[in-house]
């Protein structure tokens, strides 16, 4: 029912999606590019925080462990929207106070940097838990064997732990990547020109709400389905040489 109404409403306004100025296609794609940039940046920042956090939680001292527990608990209990606002204001404030203290001018933090930073911190909390579980799933004997051979810790992480945990971590990381792409939409609330915000502007200007929101939905869906395929491949690659689950080797 909804689809039929949407389709009939959309058919008449489809040329609004054209690339050049009467159409808003270029704006939408620019928004899409911004969304992907932020999601990618936030995902990698989150993964970096996650690796440090997971190692901290597993091998750190009691104080570090408790602090990390507070970090992951608080970030996972407070809505992303609230965190984005808090970190956005507090982050800009902190950067400016630091700059002023060092004798520089105040700056306006760019939306891109702030978005990546904020979403990265949110992603980091979830990634910490994902990677901690994945590291725990690596057979202890492998790590012990490497240690017994006198491998230094960093080399051990790079050669043994991280590659071995990858196949356990990838499903969780794939999920996090999808969350990252969808969370970029929240930056629309702070006014950053990512896909949802651009869509809303285009829709508001032309009153063709269905057309634009549906088009943006298709773009988001394409990202999800596309990354699903990529992560499926990656997982198969990371699992190469491992026995298949339940006997069936894929």
């Amino acid at each position: 029912m909804l689809g039929i109404i949407g389709a009939t409403a959309a058919a008449s306004t489809l040329d609004l999606l054209a690339w050049s100025p009467p159409g808003w296609g270029a704006n939408l794609l620019r928004g899409l590019l911004n969304s992907i940039l932020i999601a990618t940046g936030a995902f990698w920042l989150g993964a970096a925080i996650g690796i440090c956090g997971a190692y901290g939680k597993l091998y750190g001292g009691p104080v570090l462990r408790d602090l990390l527990a507070v970090y992951t608990t608080v970030v996972r209990a407070v809505p992303e929207l609230v965190l984005i606002l808090i970190l956005y204001y507090a982050g800009t404030d902190a950067v400016n106070q630091m700059l002023v203290a060092l004798g520089y001018e105040r700056i306006q933090l760019s939306g891109l940097a702030a978005g990546i930073g904020v979403l990265g911190i949110v992603q980091g909390a979830y990634a910490t838990e994902v990677l901690r579980g994945a590291i725990l799933a690596v057979p202890a004997g492998q790590i012990e064997a490497a240690r017994a051979m006198g491998m230094p810790p960093v080399l051990l992480a790079r050669r043994i732990t991280l590659p071995a945990m990858l196949s356990f971590a990838l499903p969780g990381l794939a999920n996090l990547w999808l969350v990252a792409t969808k969370d970029t939409a929240l930056l629309a609330v702070v006014g950053f020109a990512e896909l949802t915000q651009e869509t809303r502007q285009a829709a508001g200007a032309t009153k063709a709400y269905f057309t634009f929101f549906m088009a943006a939905g298709v773009l988001y869906l394409a990202i999800s389905l596309g990354s699903g395929l990529v992560f499926g491949r990656l997982e198969a690659w990371a699992r190469r040489g491992q026995p298949g689950v339940g006997g069936a080797s894929k």
């Binding site: 408790d66 602090l67 996972r76 407070v78 609230v82 269905f210 929101f213 939905g217 869906l221 389905l225």
Partner: protein, 256 residues
């Protein structure tokens, strides 16, 4: 209790307490009494939306999960498409599509404008409830699919062998066991749903988030309302986690 009494934790607790005291004394809270009734209403509305959308969403998720787990292809395929679309697009976009899209479409039809539902359709909350319900149903449909499939075949075969009608099997055997399996996941998903509720503020529903934004706009105080907001959400999350832990303990589980 003993876990809290380790020396480093005592120090950290004291530090945390000092931080709280500093926040209470040094930040501006003079706006609080004036906005207290609004804050109460906002919290009430957030919880109301959370409860209504999770209950309705769950009611939709059970048939969605069933259709995907054992349904014929003409039921399974649409259910899978629905779940994929809901899970593949941001909730904010769905919410705005329903509110702005449907909201701009409805006035074009005279029979909708004349119907007795119109006074409700002109408000924002039905769209908020609809969007959040559909979103919860989409995510939980996937969870319930796994849960329905995970119930042991022998249980269902035994029930069938006893001559139980199919609906009774569903009601007495299949659904309870599937729900029990899914309970830990569902607990996490309800917390995620709580964290999705502030989005309704973007379509003018006055929940606790929107009250905090209002305070920010009225008084130009930035951090204090946001801090209060974070504390409120953490408190509700804590209550939800406790409630689900209690629920899980009520059902005896045999750990092999």
């Amino acid at each position: 209790m003993r876990a809290l009494l380790q020396p480093h934790r005592v120090v950290m607790l004291v530090l945390a307490l000092a931080l709280v005291v500093w926040c209470v004394l040094n930040l501006r809270w003079d706006w609080l009494p004036k906005y207290l009734p609004m804050i109460g209403q906002g919290i009430w509305r957030t919880i109301w939306i959370l409860v209504v959308t999770t209950v309705l969403g769950m009611a939709l998720a059970v048939p969605l999960g069933l259709a995907q787990a054992v349904g014929p292809w003409f039921l399974a395929a649409p259910a899978r498409v629905f779940c994929t679309v809901i899970r593949g697009t941001p909730l904010l976009l769905q919410l705005w599509l329903l509110y702005f899209g449907l909201g701009s479409l409805f006035p074009q039809f005279p029979w909708i404008k004349d119907s007795s539902l119109w006074p409700y359709l002109r408000q924002a909350w039905p769209y908020a409830v609809l969007a959040l319900t559909l979103s919860f149903a989409g995510y939980e449909g996937e969870v319930m699919r796994g849960a329905f499939k995970g119930v042991q075949r022998g249980q269902l075969e035994a029930a069938r062998a006893m001559g139980m009608p199919r609906l009774t099997i569903l009601r007495r055997i299949w659904l309870p066991q599937a729900l029990h399996r899914a309970l830990p996941t569902l607990g996490g998903e309800v917390v995620l749903q709580l964290k999705a509720t502030p989005l309704v503020a973007t379509i003018t529903v006055v929940d606790i988030y929107s009250v905090a934004s209002r305070v920010r706009q009225d008084t130009f105080i930035v951090y204090e309302p946001l801090l209060l907001l974070a504390v409120v959400y953490m408190a509700i999350t804590g209550l939800l986690v406790l409630a689900f832990r209690w629920l899980e303990h009520r059902v005896p589980a045999r750990v092999a």
